[in-house]
């Protein structure tokens, strides 16, 4: 997710951020004080940071980023060069990258951004401020690199500082530069492709700045001494160095709360003799963690598994009558398979109930939201819908399907399927009027719903020919009476929908009532996000209505808290930690260490799990510093060209998550706990440099459970649990 950022060590990256923003990359002091009050971090009175009210220091920084050379230029020309340059640049860039919202787009040249921009100015019969056409003739003959160098030399005749100047250009529109860099590296991310690179962006910006200075303001006369003192202010004390210990304290606090008891739980494990009768396969998502715990507590005959929520089937979904393709697998996975829906889905089948922009019926939901009633109050939270009619056979041949299913079963360490009812449950969220809807969905399905993937998996796994192939080629035995039933868990409403209408009255009521009761308990536990312990709902009916309204109200900015407080990723046998509660803090991946002596399955798991889980965790970690690295508040957001969000009409585009999503997040790096031989884990990680970077550069914290002990990986070697805390 951050391919080149991960190549630099974590602490160095934080210091880099401090240089850019002249402000701590870690949270402001008031946050740490509050964490202290909540006992999340222990601060001694001497080391306690000052509160904002006590702090009397006047900071150097007057802008979003720290840009000494530009501040110097602004002083000389007595106006803000930024404010002159950005409006026209941002308007053109949004028009250029627009994904189909604007009615008219500028002429797009195949050469890329710079060529299109020059073409636009040249063709226009009226002037484009601040350009003059005589300059344009000269610029056209040069390459972007030559042009940028020449313009830069005119603005700032000291080549030593050019690097810093370009850096400041990129910082001042950090959202746009990041977006262009991403579009350059992964052009497939934009449905309507646009060729762009960072050099073009810098050159255009330099062209505009140069034209303002040349045509209107005059070049600023800056001496080298002035530059030296201005840039020298960068080498100040870095506040985050003082705060690093706070972050480490907080992380250790979390580890101290969970890891010793996890170790005890693992050591005390004794295999039970109870025969499993029902199996549930969930996504590894941390929001499923709580449901699995409550479900297993209902009856020892229930067993659950965790695997990435696309269930091994990577494809694009094309809805009936729509051109647009929806990706249904993790972002790094590449695919060209397309599954078509034969007819459009019902409104309630999928969480696609958002009021249409073109439909004014939205006003209705301001005044009342109807909560559906069910005849059977025991099964209020369980619904049965018609399976979405899709065409899977054209996308996947039987051999391909068998291979994918076998991989999933092997990675979970589940090679003999004897249980008669196997529920494959994806997940999604219901949220209205929300530009962040994808952030609430299934991360392994690129933010859309995992329901279709579950249906495709169950479709093939129920196929007798595929079962034959599974036994013959992959030695995976599925018993005759075993049945796979697809479903989806709505994490906002906490309901489960099964996509097999005809089964409604055939499934044993026992397991359904277990599931329903588990969902009710999940809702009871999730109340803590919204009400203090003294004011909780005790009536499940009221709670059900409350969560239904959370998901269906168009004015709700906090439908659920998503991946808040995620801190762990446990890769190992679920059976052993059944009695341990991770409290919604953990991704859970099923893995059987004994059946994987070469680490082949582990490698497959880690390849998906590390980028996805660490990506999600770091997304929340950095968005917690919300106004600098996140998207700010959700209330004023404006959607720009269907590819980004901004505030206002000509401001920088915003990365990260909004404040309402991360406000309860405890910022810590993610702890990977793997149940496997430590040497084997290192061997597997070192085989893949991209994975090893995460560990080596401390972007994640690696633990292993082996020989009745939990050990932590530091760059000096493995350390026991007692020493590391």
């Amino acid at each position: 997710m951050f391919p080149d950022l991960v190549a630099t060590p974590f602490w160095m990256a934080l210091e880099e951020l401090d240089l850019i923003y002249a402000w701590s990359s870690l949270l402001p002091d008031d946050y740490w004080r509050m964490f202290h009050e909540l006992n999340w971090v222990s601060i001694t009175p001497a080391a306690r940071p000052q509160s904002a009210k006590e702090d009397k220091s006047d900071p150097l920084i007057k802008e979003k980023g720290f840009r000494p050379i530009h501040q110097l230029v602004n002083q000389k020309i007595k106006t803000s060069l930024n404010e002159l340059t950005e409006p026209i640049l941002i308007r053109y860039l949004s028009a250029y990258f627009d994904q189909g919202f604007a009615y008219r787009s500028p002429t797009i040249k195949s050469e890329g951004l710079l060529a299109s921009f020059v073409h636009f100015i040249e063709e226009s019969l009226i002037p484009v401020k601040p350009f003059k056409k005589k300059h344009l003739q000269k610029w056209k003959l040069k390459s972007a690199e030559e042009l940028a160098q020449e313009l830069l030399y005119d603005i700032l005749p000291y080549p030593d500082y050019h690097h810093q100047y370009i850096r400041e250009i990129l910082i001042s529109l950090k959202g746009w530069s990041g977006m262009i860099k991403t579009a350059e590296a992964n052009p497939h991310l934009l449905p309507i492709p646009r060729k762009a690179n960072l050099l073009d962006f810098v050159t255009i910006r330099l062209m505009i700045e140069w034209s303002w200075l040349k045509n209107y303001l005059g070049f600023p006369q800056i001496t080298k001494e002035e530059l030296k003192t201005a840039v020298g202010a960068l080498q100040r004390d870095i506040p985050s160095r003082q705060k690093q210990h706070l972050l480490i304290d907080l992380e250790k606090n979390i580890q101290r709360r969970y890891l010793p008891s996890l170790k005890n739980c693992l050591n005390d494990y004794a295999p039970t003799t109870a025969q499993a009768e029902w199996s549930f396969v969930f996504c590894i998502d941390d929001r499923e963690c709580i449901l699995r715990r409550h479900l297993e507590n209902q009856d020892p005959r229930i067993q659950t598994f965790g695997t990435p929520g696309f269930f091994g089937f990577e494809f694009f979904l094309r809805r009936h009558d729509h051109e647009h393709l929806i990706k249904q697998c993790p972002d790094p996975v590449k695919t060209d398979k397309i599954i078509k829906l034969k007819q459009d889905l019902q409104q309630n089948t999928y969480p696609w109930t958002t009021p249409k922009w073109s439909n004014l019926s939205a006003l209705k939901s301001l005044f009342f939201i109807k909560t559906p009633k069910y005849k059977n109050t025991h099964l209020r939270l369980i619904r049965f819908e018609k399976a979405p009619p899709f065409d899977a056979r054209t996308a996947f041949s039987l051999e391909e399907a068998a291979l994918r299913i076998a991989q999933i079963f092997k990675s979970m360490g589940w090679s003999r399927i004897t249980t008669s009812l196997n529920f494959i449950i994806g997940h999604h969220a219901t949220t209205q009027n929300n530009p962040f809807f994808n952030a609430y969905g299934c991360g392994a399905c690129s933010g859309s719903s995992g329901a279709i993937n579950a249906c495709v998996f169950a479709y093939f796994a129920n196929d007798p020919e595929v079962r034959e192939l599974l036994i013959r080629e992959h030695s995976i035995a599925i018993s005759q009476e075993a049945m796979f039933i697809p479903g989806a868990h709505d994490t906002t409403l906490d309901t489960v929908t099964f996509y097999s209408e005809f089964l409604e009255h055939k499934l044993p009521l026992e397991v359904l009532s277990y599931l329903s009761r588990a969902l009710e308990q999940v809702q009871q536990e999730r109340q803590l996000d919204y009400f203090p312990p003294t004011q909780q709902y005790s009536d499940p009916e009221k709670l059900y209505k409350f969560f239904w309204k959370q998901g269906h109200a168009i004015f709700q900015v906090r439908p659920e808290y998503g991946h808040n407080s995620v801190a762990f990723c446990y890769i190992g046998d679920r059976e052993k930690v059944k009695s341990f509660s991770f409290e919604r803090k953990s991704f859970l991946q099923s893995y059987d260490c004994s059946s994987d002596p070469d680490g082949i399955q582990l490698e497959g798991i880690l390849k998906a799990a590390i980028p996805v889980c660490a990506g999600i965790s770091l997304d929340y970690f950095f968005s917690r510093q919300n106004l600098l690295l996140g998207a700010g508040t959700k209330l004023s957001l404006n959607i720009n060209g269907l590819f980004s969000i901004t505030n206002g009409v000509e401001e920088d585009i915003l990365p990260g998550l909004c404040y309402q999503m991360v406000e309860r997040h405890i910022p810590s790096r993610i702890n990977f706990i793997i149940e496997q031989n430590p040497e084997l884990i290192l061997e597997v990680l070192k085989r893949n440099e991209s994975l090893w970077n995460y560990v080596k550069n401390e972007w994640i914290i690696l633990w292993c459970y082996w020989e009745r002990d939990i050990k932590k990986w530091t760059n000096d070697g493995w350390v026991t649990l007692e020493d590391s805390l």
Binding site: A95, L125, I126, F437, N626, V649
Partner: protein
Amino acid sequence: MILLTLPLLSLVMFLFHWNYKALLRLNLSALVFSGAYLITGGLIASQVVPWPSWLGHHAEWQFEGDFYVWDQHWSPLELAVATSAYLVMLASYIFSTRYFYLEKEARKFFALFPIILFGILTVTSGNSLDVVLIGWENVGLASIFLISFYAFRTRAIRNTVRIFIIYKLCDIGLLLDSLFAHHEKGLHTINGLPTWLSQNTWSSGNTIHFLALMAILAACGKSALFPFFNWPARAMEGPTPSSALFYGGPVLHLGVFLLIKLKDLILISDLARWVLLSLGLLTFFSARLVSHTQSTVKGHLAYKAVSHIGLISIWVALNWIKLAVLHIVMHMIYRSIRLIISPSVAYEQAHEGLKIQKKHPLLEGPLTWLPERWQSRIYNTLFALSLQEFFLSPSERGGIGVFDFTKIKRLLVTRSSFFLSFSGLLFIVLAFGFTNMNLPLTFGLLTMAAASLLCLKAIFSYDTVKSSHLQQLVSTTLFVLGTWLSLGHLSLGLLSFCCLIAIAFFLSFWALSPYFNYPLHTFHGAKYVGINRYRVMVVSFLIAAGYPLTPMFIAEDSLYSELLHVSITHTLLAFTYLLLLAIYWMRLMVKVFWGFHYKALIHPVFPPLYPSSKYK
């Protein structure tokens, strides 16, 4: 009259930091009162009941020989617009109570909400220009504070200042109308307009043209007609419900609604009708063209809304009043809801498929016979025109479009050129004054002109806060002296103006005292250091800018009418000076108290964090 107390109460509650729930209750009671008011209005308009005397719809009082009339009247047209505006406000209120939950400055929104409600109801139901003006200014006030809702965003506050200047400039139109028609020529109620027009013999003369054009100027500002058509998009900086209230909903339509109220005045003047028709056409076509290149949802909606306003003003110019009112009602409701659910567009587009990019209709239609090169040239020209918003967006340096005011600015900032321009002015005024007026009047005029020039210099100043504000103190003293000279005696209007501006200066000096050494070339965000001083500064700004929530409004009004007895030139100069004074005060407040400050990064409203269930 009850309505009048609510905005004042909300402002007081906000300034003295009353809690969120109390503000919500106040809003709810404001909505209930307004609802009752509307129902009464409906009964009266349908002639079921007469105006009850206790409702106090008509009041007159005298101040220095001038009539001030408070009069309200409901006709079906007014009732239709007011009711639909009320419904939009009601929906926004329901939406915002949950939407703003735990938001950092939610109290600000709910303090401004009754002010907007009050403003809209007074403008729609007001039957004298005094009442309309009070509502009008209140709406403007609430609007600028909502645009700068997130006062740490530099782009947002720059836009706020620009919009404030546009508002103030265009409010002159309504102020002049009220001054000339009401105070000078005795037009007391708006529904007495036809008889007033027929009674006066000069009604076909230049005065009528002037009054009608001034009304159109006022509408231009609030409704974003042609030269100002790009401010609604610039104003999309606040939270979504406030954008929906303003730039899609009720407030944007107030301008054209004022024209409907004054339709007898507009329709009697052919010049004004032609001007309005051409402005409407220009607005429609330009806003439509710009909206086609907008890639942001709110920007697109803002320009679409403005293009509809253009259409409505065409209906008014053509005397299709009922169509215009119907259009206002439908469009107001439709556009507000579109804005409120604007975040849904991403979801819908991502899941329902993207639009196919269309070519410009010019190329498909009548221009296809042109060579391809010319087609491309015309397309790119139109694109450049709409991307630069017809060269009408003011740039950072005070220029508008291709025109550049930097040289004038520099002329004012350097001292020698200031004296040069001042002596030029002296020469002109003396030459002009000696031919027409006696000596004290000329000197009064000259002093007032000098005060305006000094104020202009202070507006462009990049010095420290202290020197700039002292300069302004000198300029205000000069202005008071000049007015005194011109009037020949210390009138009641001037005296009250002196007292109030002295209070404003006193308050602002206290508020600014810790920040005297700050330079004015950048924003300082001092609001995040000391909130109390900022609140005092806001009060002093409200006084200095003459907002109707303060008595300064009446003081200024009577000052104008006193000066009108002297000469029109004096009145216009006083207008200019007080406009400049308001802009100066706004700029000072913005530069010192708004802007990015690292303490703005701290979110003071923490969510209630309850420790999760017991650890094992």
